[in-house]
Point group: C2
Chain length 347, copies 2
DNA sequence: GTGAATTTTGCAACCGGTTGCAATAATTCT
DNA sequence: AGAATTATTGCAACCGGTTGCAAAATTCAC
């Protein structure tokens, strides 16, 4: 009664040995049948495959990882679970990894800021590599993985001239300049940066570039403010404050989701965009293109960034001593409806 | 030169044996030190822990799974990577699982519809259990896991009176009725259902309930339409069509994200909400509360659903023969600004 | 201090695979 | 056909842990 009746899926899984016995071959033969490029005659292979099918066998990836040293597990760690952009990011990462036969082990470090725990747990699971997908974590976070001997890529990380780990992303300083440029070209004279959290390197760099470009432009007034997080609420709250105090003609928001929050604040205040206030975001997330939002923004090529990240992590798994690399992708302004038209033609 | 200098992290990981040698005890002793409730004297434990710290040892979870039969890996499978609600869902799932020492292995089946591959791969990785988080997959999908002997919970799945697998979610039929009720109470006489994909059980049930309630209400005209997906674009496109043909006074949208698409279409057409057209969504995703959206909607208690799902999958891992259960959580209307005020008081 | 009861410990086998190596079988060449 | 070469196969050890069992060490009771 307890022992499953014939034909019924048994509780415990079928193993190599079962297949070997059924096919009348050694366990090695079975193993070889399922290993790419191993030496098996067509005859045995056929026999094994038949037996395997009849039994419904599929090899245990974890057991084999023990000897091969590869789990095909990739840690995907992020702390961005409130920015809708990251749904797209997770979509692309999971698909991209799956397409290469890799499995994402998702780590949410919304609370944590210390890499220690994540590193420990990801090592326990012998992940082949790790992708840190976050622009709000410091470079040291990703570096800690490297120090621990885990191949790592920091996606959306800070571009350093001599990086310690692989970084894939954009040149945030250049983006800041680009935003300044866009505002100048539209004749705005009083502008401001409405950034994400000040501690994020991405925010810092965007501010840097923005300020740098404006400094070299005579007759422009500008200010800088930071939202508490890359989130709608934080953007809205911060924009509310701006509206009460020193209101600018146009804002460069450090992220689309902050721009959306700002937009909401502006509308609540009974002002209109772009007539009263201009807004430009950064990212070009899906929602930015929605017709009732229609946000002018700087597009960050996330598909390319994610593809490159995966490629890089795979490469590093194969050659762990590979020299750290920074892959930076160009951004460009997407013209929509939250800035007034250009008054100057492009340079 | 090749062999790492003392003090430096060696390429290959530290194993049980290394620790045992250093501590001068047997491998069993080390294993026991790291196993909850095993018999070790305080003295050996101390010795082992010291050695382990010095070497930076942490046990290999995969190797131990081989004998314990538990990986603490939970497959989290979904096909909803375009509905912002699911970023919240993933956030809550990953956090909830992590808090219990479980690791989510994320599976994106945006393309796939056949459970075969996912089942195979999740079995290869010996996941302890699987959570299918989707309202657009048929019950048979989750059942296939069960048939394969994998503990499974279907979150956001269809409520069946005699379920074959654990289901956690809401009573979609009741929600449909609730929506109808809300529209009736506000005096709308020409109403419509603007659902998600017709193949999704959630859509079907919401339609069912909606129609059922309206059928029993004299003097109400209603129609039914379906968007191609649970996405903004699909909602917008479908609403455009509605506006060209038989326009209703108010729409029950099968999901918030569809409601947002519809809202966009309405606004593009130069109409206003709720003056010209009323909208009620379903889910109450974060964005629905954003002040410039302010969508009236039916709240689905996702925190509770996710908590229950995790609890249920954990329970099923412990007792695989546990009787399938349906946990249904109540929903309620969240009053915001996309329906005109009630004309009747609540019953 | 002695014997019994209880803890702690190590041995060895096992979890489900992989792989170097030597033995065997199948081909190829002369 | 026989020797030389090449392809296939099984054995046995190993990957990094766990665990039943019996031996050794402690603790307890008297």
């Amino acid at each position: 009664m307890r022992h499953s009746p014939p034909g019924m899926q048994d509780r415990m899984a079928i193993t190599l040995k079962d297949v070997a016995e059924r096919a009348g071959v050694s366990r090695s033969a079975v193993s070889r049948t399922f290993t790419e490029g191993a030496s098996v005659s067509v005859k045995t292979r056929a026999r094994v495959e038949r037996a395997a099918n009849e039994l419904g066998y599929s090899p245990n990836a974890l057991a084999s990882s023990l000897t091969t040293g590869r789990t095909k597990l990739i840690g995907l760690v992020s702390n961005n679970f409130h920015n809708p952009l990251f749904l797209e990011v997770f979509d692309l990462f999971t698909r991209g990894l799956q397409d290469r036969g890799l499995r994402p082990l998702l780590v949410n470090l919304s609370n944590e800021t210390d890499p220690g725990n994540s590193i420990q747990m990801l090592r326990q699971y012998s992940v082949d590599g790790v992708i840190v997908a976050s622009s709000t974590l410091p470079p040291s976070f990703a570096e800690a993985f490297k120090t621990a001997g885990v191949p790592v890529v920091h996606s959306f990380g800070r571009y350093a001239t001599s990086p310690h780990v692989h970084v894939v992303g954009i040149d945030n300083i250049a983006c800041g300049r680009m935003a300044a440029e866009a505002l100048i070209a539209r004749g705005y004279r009083r502008v401001a940066f409405l950034g994400g959290p000040e501690s994020a390197t991405s925010t810092q760099d965007r501010a840097l570039g923005f300020i740098d470009r404006l400094d070299s432009e005579p007759g422009i007034d500008f200010s800088v403010a930071y939202a508490a997080a890359y989130s709608f609420d934080a953007g809205r709250v911060q924009m509310m404050k701006q509206l009460m105090t020193d209101r600018a003609e146009a804002y460069f928001c450090g992220d689309d989701v902050i721009a959306l929050g700002a937009l909401s604040a502006v509308q609540s205040a009974g002002l209109s965009v772009p007539d009263d206030i201009g807004l430009i975001g950064l990212n070009d997330m899906e929602m930015a293109g929605w017709e009732n939002i229609d946000l002018t923004t700087i597009r960050q090529p996330i598909r390319e960034i994610i593809e490159a990240s995966i490629e890089l992590v795979v490469g590093t798994v194969e050659r762990p001593d590979r020299h750290p690399e920074a892959r930076i992708f160009p951004c460009r302004v997407i013209e929509r409806a939250t800035l007034r038209p250009r008054t100057r033609s492009p340079d």
